[in-house]
């Protein structure tokens, strides 16, 4: 199997499609209203008796509209999309690597996960191990909350930099921080998912 290469293909600009500025705070009711309005115009159901060209056009643009709405509606996907659009999303190398200040806790967590698996295999008592993991999960959920709060804070900085027509250097700095937060978020998110799977 060949993996997709990291370069994302060019797409239409979702912010342009919804006629909104390239900012990270989006007013949801207005976004939904615009989505429904465009859906009335573009949905394939409106083109059943049209020419094949018009049907093709409807399929292309209504799928783009749905893709755009799906991404912009989700605060995290929205940041990722913005960075990809600006050409500053860098993922990969940090994905498998724990952020330095979390190293110790991650190490401890992985040990607990191993213990739980061993205990399960040998049929010994799981209750105390589970309790331990549950508190670890709670700890990482809190960290996820912290990352989300910092993402929001940095997103506000981004919006302010747009309003103030800030310099490229400033904007690049904000984007680098957003990128770092996204990577950290996906790392912690994966950890939490793994723990939840073991606890099921």
């Amino acid at each position: 199997m060949s993996a997709p290469s990291t370069a994302k293909p060019k797409q239409c600009d979702y912010f342009d499609l919804f006629e909104i500025p390239r900012k990270l705070w989006i007013e949801m009711p207005a976004l939904e209203k615009k989505f429904l309005e465009l859906s009335w115009k573009l949905h394939p159901d409106k083109f059943v008796n049209a020419s094949p060209e018009e049907q093709e056009h409807s399929l292309k643009h209504s799928s783009e509209l749905n893709d755009a709405y799906r991404v912009l509606r989700d605060p995290v996907a929205r940041v990722e999309y913005l960075l990809a659009l600006e050409g500053t999303r860098i993922e990969g190398e940090h994905k498998q690597q724990a952020p330095p200040e979390l190293l110790e806790e991650v190490f401890e967590l992985n040990e607990s996960l191993d213990e739980l698996r061993e205990a399960r295999a040998s049929g010994s008592d799981l209750a105390s191990l589970k309790a331990h993991l549950e508190s670890a999960e709670k700890n990482f959920q809190e960290k996820l909350g912290e990352v989300d709060a910092r993402l929001q804070e940095t997103a506000r900085q981004w919006d302010a930099s747009i309003d103030a027509s800030a310099s490229d250097t400033d904007r690049k700095g904000i984007m680098a921080r957003l990128n770092e937060l996204l990577n950290r978020r996906s790392y912690i998110r994966n950890l939490v998912t793994n723990v939840q799977k073991e606890l099921l």
Binding site: M1, P4, D45, V48, N66, R70
Partner: protein, 613 residues
Amino acid sequence: MARTVGIDLGTTNSLVACIDPQTGAPKCIPGPSGSTLCPSVVSLDPDGSIIVGEPARRRLLTQPERTIYSVKRLMGRGVADIQDELKLFPFRIDSTSKNVIRVRLGDKFFTPPEISAFILRELKNWAEAYFGESVGRAVITVPAYFNDAQRQATKDAGKLAGLEVLRLVNEPTAAALAYGLHEKQRGHVAVYDFGGGTFDISILKLISSDEGDIYQVLSTNGDTHLGGDDIDNLLQAFVHEKILQQHRVDFSPHSELAQELRKELIAIKHQLSESEAATLRFPLPNDAVYVQEFERGAFEALIRPIVDRTMGPVRQALADAKLKPGEIEEVVLVGGATRTPLIRRTVQEYFDRRPHTELNPDEVVALGAAVQANILDRGVSNMLLLDVTPLSLGIETYGGAVSKVIPRNSTIPASAQEMYTTGVDNQTGIDIHVLQGERELAKDCRSLARFTLKVPPAPAGLPRIEVKFLIDANGILQVGAKDTRTGEQRTIEVQPSYGISDTEIERMLEESIEYAEQDFAERQAIEARTEAETILAATQKALGTPQAAILRAEERAAIDAAVAALKESVGGSDYKLIRKRIDELNNATMHLAELVMNSAVSTALQGRKLAEV
């Protein structure tokens, strides 16, 4: 122009519906027996003709070897996926077939889409008889949780039945459409659809906007192999065991006796929805009679595990819609199995709301399909349906992992682009494996398609191929590729992993003519000819009576001319012309008919006393 209808192609029963031109409301079209339900049963007569519906259902008992039911369970599946099904259902599968399932009826083999096409064709005939016009296009409903292969198989069936499939609509969405019209609801609606073989839950948001009403599906979940059939299987297994213990009678679950027992148990199940107890009396081959008293409480304890299995998908769908049970304003029950009091109670308790059951749960999906058919056909513009894809679309990456490119519950049409390149110099192909499902490993997901992207030889990493995965409004996958260096566009021939190839479909289309009834015009012509023969014979007879002499010369000439004209038209196949000439002859013979009638009346009165008249 040919008519458009809505069709519910169900596991147990299928229905066809249209918009009543008088009332503007959807209605189901009855078949020759007067019932709107067409049992989804197909039988191959020893003379080679195909029998569908109620007559086929009766043959389940007399000719089980030539008859099949619940074929929907096999749609879009491979031989390997249905091994569990084979233990429970009397499907006779061609054991030599590796991928595509072939079912044996008598001495012939058919694929599941071909069998479904026989059902669709029967419904098409019902509708054509009702309209007196041909039917060309249809909206066909599918379980919301059907995957790409199951949808493709349904679309193939439509094509084989001679129908242009305007849209595949999800069953719970269709039901919401029928209810929305009926109830003028707003807000969040949960549709709980427990059919003969499939279970779906959909959460919708009903929105009023300036342009009209929008039915937006927020999430959907379900189990395509969970239905009323499973309750029947459970009851059957329970009773088999009892009969074995008490009477030492063991019979094959696929025998005629088993079919007979199943029929009785379904009747018991229905009785228990109405009354607290029911008694089974089943004569056994050894002249003993097996008697079993069923009480509703014990019955409910038996089937509770099945009902509980529906609640996992319900919780997941709500979580995906980011809603709590209390935020659902309306609950709609669809499917015959929702007549079961335990199911009604379970749903009512969970949502803390009395569910809607006003519309007939057997008909509501077909009614919604007719509404959508009308919207599409006539371009009715004050309603819009936004549906979702039930399963995530993914691509296999290194190590057999799956990278999700379109998440489940994305509004459709939806798309995703991925860029591919080569790993070694002069590599000429890139293998791509497309999957559907929520699991992380490719082996645990449903394989949709494998294909190889052709790449012109070049140094590693230089080619740039953009692949676009698109799920269309029917929930069916399309794949396109573009070489971004040369700009060359290509559509990729996606060979569905367990589907039927286009060439096979073409072959089946040719073969289906063998079983197809004559087309609409031909059937009409045959009927018109029969009628013409009747009226010609009657005219001939009337002209031989003494009353004919009373006719004036021009009357006689008009009759002779009309007779000649009708005789001439009967030679052709224009049924409209034949009908026109029949009407003309009827008009020309009006006076003659009157004379003959009067004479007949006076003859009949002769010899009878006036008091008796």
